[in-house]
Structures are given as C-alpha cells and as structure tokens.
C-alpha cells in the first residue's frame, strides 16, 4: 500500500557551524499533488532538498521518502525519485543521449529503455546527439527533466526549475509539471517565485529562515484562515446596509472592486453566502460579482514574512 505522503520530515535540522539552515522542519507532501516549497533566497529550501536526496547529512530529525525511512532505506526510496537540484549539470563533452545513458547505468536496467522516451517527452529528440556543451540553458533544463524521468518517478523534486528560462520556456515547463501530476506523479517544487508556485501548485509550504511557517492548500493560505467573499452590485451602498444587518457577516467594507465581506468564523460559509445573495436579490439589486475573496499568495506571503520580521 502506498504511503499517503511522499515526503515526511519531523524536526529536520541542518546546521553549518552556528548557522541553522534548516530549523526543525515538519513537512508533509501529499501523494499526487504539486507541492510548492516557497521561500526567499537563503531560506534553506535547497538544503532541505539536499538532505532528502542524500547529498548532505541532516544534523537532527527524521525523514521519510515514499514511505521509506532515510537514510536507512535511501537507496530504495531514490529508485523512484527524479530530481533537479539547482542548475542541472552534465558532462559537456558527451551528447544529451550519452549523458542520459550514464545516469541510466546507475539506475535499474529498465532505465536504458526510457532514454528515448524521456528525450521525446521534453522535445529534445532532434538535438539528442549533439554535445551538451552546445546546449542553451533552456535545453539543459529540459535535459535535466528528461534525466529525472529515467527513474519513472513517483516523486519529482525540482529545485528552482525555471531559473534562466524565457517566458515561453516557463509556460512550457508549467504545462509539463501539471502533466506529471495528471499522470499520478507527485511534484515537489522549490521556488522563490510566488507567481510560479501559485500557478503550478495545489499545496504549499512557506519557509523562512529555515523554518516552515505555514503549510496547506494554496486556497487555504490565500484565504489566510478567514472566510470572505467579494460582492459587487448595482448599488453597493444599499448592499452594505443589507450586509451590516446579516448575522453571519463579521464585517463588510468597500473595496476597489466591490465590497469585501468577512464572515463570522463560526458561520457555515456556503449557506451564509447563499443567504446573503438571496437577500441582495430580494432587495432588488443586481449582482455583478459574487466570489470567494482571495488574497494573492504574494500578499499573504509578504504578510507572513513581515510579521516574522517584526517578531524578530
């Protein structure tokens, strides 16, 4: 039976001398999701990934990959993990295909049979027999993805995968990642780009100064724990009066694009929203907008990190 989480860490810590790069991180990456590991540069994202992959040892804490404890069963776990850590690196004097063959030799025998398919998947079949030193950065990134597919991975760990890509390349990359999730693979995407994580991922952990400060679905994080709706009507002033009298409404305030309505925390959000809509219509107002209010992940992220800075 497959473990529900493909990555589980408990109080995972990495120190470099006095400096704590990863600070007691508890992380749970659900199977079959695109999971964003989001944080500013230097927050400890790459260090955590390096520990998971056995590139460096943890100072303290425990971790499991695909349900297997690591480092005890790292070899078995990594057999089904593909990864790009920082910039993908290759032997420049070998062709793209030869580079994949070198890695396939270190994997199970079936990996050799996946080389051509992986090259085709990332659109490099036509350039596979050119030396990698002639590849552009975008091509190297794609070859890195092809290399990680040799494992037929259940989990793909991608560390800042769109670094250096042009907008078209970034768009293509996003589609590719969503494609992997559709196939049932899990993608752990580390990035400092909020927009990227918001567009690709359904789950996210926000990390700052080595600590995971928040973890959950993008929708949960963007809502910031509160239940709110955004309403625009034919007469917002009258609508505000109606809303002020509704018992499920904690506050209603004009916003640039309508009225932002915060619901009472104990209110049943869906039923409350239905009732609010009904009352506005019964009052003879036309509803032009009625949707859950979301903070952008960027605003939420800045809110969290600035709060941390104030506390520090």
């Amino acid at each position: 039976m497959s473990a529900p989480y493909v990555v589980e860490t408990s109080r995972l810590t990495k120190r470099f001398g006095e400096r704590v790069a990863v600070d007691e991180v508890d992380l749970h990456v659900p199977r079959g999701s695109a999971f964003g590991y989001l944080g500013p540069n230097g927050a400890g994202k790459t260090t955590l990934i390096r520990m998971l992959l056995g590139l460096t040892n943890a100072t303290a804490g425990t971790m499991r990959l695909l349900g297997r404890p690591v480092p005890t069963e790292r070899s078995a776990a990594l057999a089904r993990v593909g990864a790009i850590v920082e910039e993908p690196r290759f032997h420049g004097h070998l062709t793209g295909r030869e580079n994949l063959r070198v890695i396939a030799a270190a994997r199970e025998p079936e990996a050799h049979g996946r080389v051509d398919g992986a090259l085709a998947r990332v659109g490099l079949s036509n350039r596979a027999d050119e030396r990698v030193k002639r590849y552009s950065l975008g091509m190297r990134q794609r070859l890195g993805v092809a290399r990680s597919l040799l494992a037929d991975p259940e989990l793909l760990i991608l560390d800042e995968p769109t670094n250096g890509l042009d907008p078209a390349g970034i768009h293509e990359f996003r589609d590719m990642i969503r494609g992997f999730v559709t196939e049932g693979r899990t993608v752990l995407l580390s990035s400092h780009l909020l927009d990227e994580v918001e567009k690709i991922c359904d789950q996210v952990a926000i990390v700052d100064r080595g600590r995971v400060v928040m973890q959950g679905s993008i929708a949960e994080l963007a809502a910031g724990g509160e239940q709110a709706i955004l309403i625009a009507t034919s007469d917002d002033e009258r609508a505000l009066t109606i809303l002020a009298e509704h018992r499920a409404v904690a506050s209603a305030s004009p916003a640039p694009d309508g009225i932002r309505v915060r619901l009472q925390t104990e209110a049943e959000a869906e039923a409350a929203a239905d009732d609010i809509g009904r009352r506005i219509v019964l009052a003879g107002l036309a509803i032009r907008r009625f949707e859950p209010a979301r903070m952008s992940l960027e605003r939420r992220f800045l809110e969290i990190t600035s709060r941390l800075e104030e506390a520090a």
Partner: protein, 273 residues
C-alpha cells in the same frame, strides 16, 4: 513517455558496493569520449615508440656502419625505460580525470541522487580506467617488443621470457600510478591540482628521494624502489638503488595501490555531493 508507475522492490544490485558492468561501461564512455585525454595518452605511449623505432630505422638505413639495427636488446631496454615513465604519466592523467571528472562537471550529485551506492560509483572507475589505459600501454609495448625483435638484425634480440617479464613489469609500474592518481584526485576533488602534485612526485621528488642514501631503509617504502626490485634484470643493468626482498616489494606495491584507493573511496562516500 506515459509509462505506468509500478512500485517494485529494489534489486539488491543497487545496494551492492561493487559496480555493475553497466556502470563500468558508463565510466568508460565518459573517458573514451574525452578526445584530448585519449589523444594525450596515445601521444605518451604509442606515438613515442613508433617515432623512436622509425627514427632508428631511418638512421640505420642511412648509415648502417655508424648506427646498428633499430631492434636489439639494448634498444629495447632504452625504449622500455622511456615507456615506463611515459606510461606512468598517462596513468596519472587518466586516473586524475576519472577521480575528479564527475565532481568537476557537477555530475557527481546527479549520480548520488539515483540512490546507487557511492562505493559502487567509485569502484566502477577502476576497471573503466584500466580498460582505456592498458590497451594503449599494451599497444605501445607490442610495438616496442615487435620492433626490438623483428628489427634486431644481427644484434641480440630480447628473449620471449624477457618480453613476458617486461610486459608484466610495465603493467606493475603503470597500475600504481593510475590508482594513486584516482585515489588522490577523488580525495582532493580537483583534477588539475592532483595532476600537478602527482607529476611532481612521480617525476621529480620520488626519483630523488630513492637516491638519498641517508634515508636508509625508509626508501623501501617508495613505489619506485619496489618496481625497480621487480624489474627484469636485463632492463636494469646497473642494479637497483634500494636492495629489498621480493616480499617487501610486493607489499609496498600493494600498499601504494590499496591505500590511495581506500582514501579516495572514503572521501567519495563521505563528501557532500
């Protein structure tokens, strides 16, 4: 590539510390595709032997009275002296490239991420390096041996037993240089630095130290002393600089191969990738 995902038990081979033939083949691919390295190795081994015997043949053809036949035991002895030195240099180049090649290219971490035993990744380099080195050194020896025998004319040609002994001895001289370079470069993680240090040691420091009588029995610990002890008598006419027993020579040679390899293996297994 929409292959279905299947969670399978890991083959034991992935955890084994020794390399699979596929890993060795991959290491060999990385080496043989380095045109500069292959060319350098050829220039250091096969090319000098061809050039030397061609020059000797031309000289002999031009002035037979002054220059004897290009073959002969004497010329074989001289060319073997050159070949052993140059083969050791070639071995250092190949060993250092293998030891630090993955690290230098940043590919070591990509290999570690596969979950394959680091020891297996490391140990695959030994047969791969020898697979490139020994055929080239062997080819150079074959040219030398053939020329010394076929072109001996009226001079004394090297005997079959001498040729066999010399071939084995050449392998014994080359192998420790290769393993030393592989171990040191894996330890240091730098090809250039390793080559610099090892050439200095092999070509300058060690030959000098072996000649320093004040070091006494300590000189037995140098690999040069051991290889001289094992050399065919016909090739070291002047005798050996450091008299030592056959057993001691074998132990010293083994140590010079095993210790650097062990140090390199330890560093490969413990370094941050």
């Amino acid at each position: 590539m929409n292959t279905p995902m299947v969670t399978v038990e890991l083959p034991h081979a992935r955890r084994r510390p020794w390399p699979s033939p596929r890993l060795v083949s991959a290491e060999f691919l990385k080496l043989r595709k380095r045109r500069g390295l292959v060319l350098s190795t050829l220039v250091l081994t096969v090319a000098p032997m061809i050039v030397a015997y061609v020059v000797l043949a031309i000289l002999h053809a031009a002035e037979p009275a002054k220059y004897g036949p290009p073959g002969s035991l004497e010329n074989f002895s001289g060319s073997m002296e050159v070949l052993t030195q140059l083969s050791a240099v070639a071995a250092i180049l190949v060993g250092a490239t293998l030891g630090a090649g993955d690290l230098g290219a940043g590919v070591f971490r990509e290999l570690v991420v596969t979950g394959r035993s680091r020891l297996a990744l490391y140990s695959a380099r030994v047969p791969a390096g020898l697979a490139l080195l020994l055929p080239l050194v062997g080819g150079a020896f074959a040219i030398t041996a053939a020329a010394a025998t076929v072109l001996a004319g009226s001079s004394e040609a090297p005997s079959g037993s001498l040729l066999a002994h010399a071939a084995g001895w050449l392998a014994l001289v080359t192998a420790p240089s290769f393993t030393l370079a592989l171990g040191v470069s894996s330890l240091l993680g730098s090809r250039g630095t390793s080559i610099g240090i090892l050439l200095g040691w092999q070509l300058v420091a060690m030959p000098l130290l072996v000649q320093v009588g004040a070091l006494g029995d300590l000189r037995e610990a140098f690999v040069d002393a051991a290889t001289q002890r094992l050399a065919p008598a016909a090739l070291v006419g002047g005798g050996v600089a450091v008299p030592m027993s056959l057993g001691a020579a074998v132990v010293v040679l083994f140590a010079w191969m095993a210790l650097p390899l062990a140090a390199g293996a330890w560093r490969t297994c413990t370094r941050d990738a």
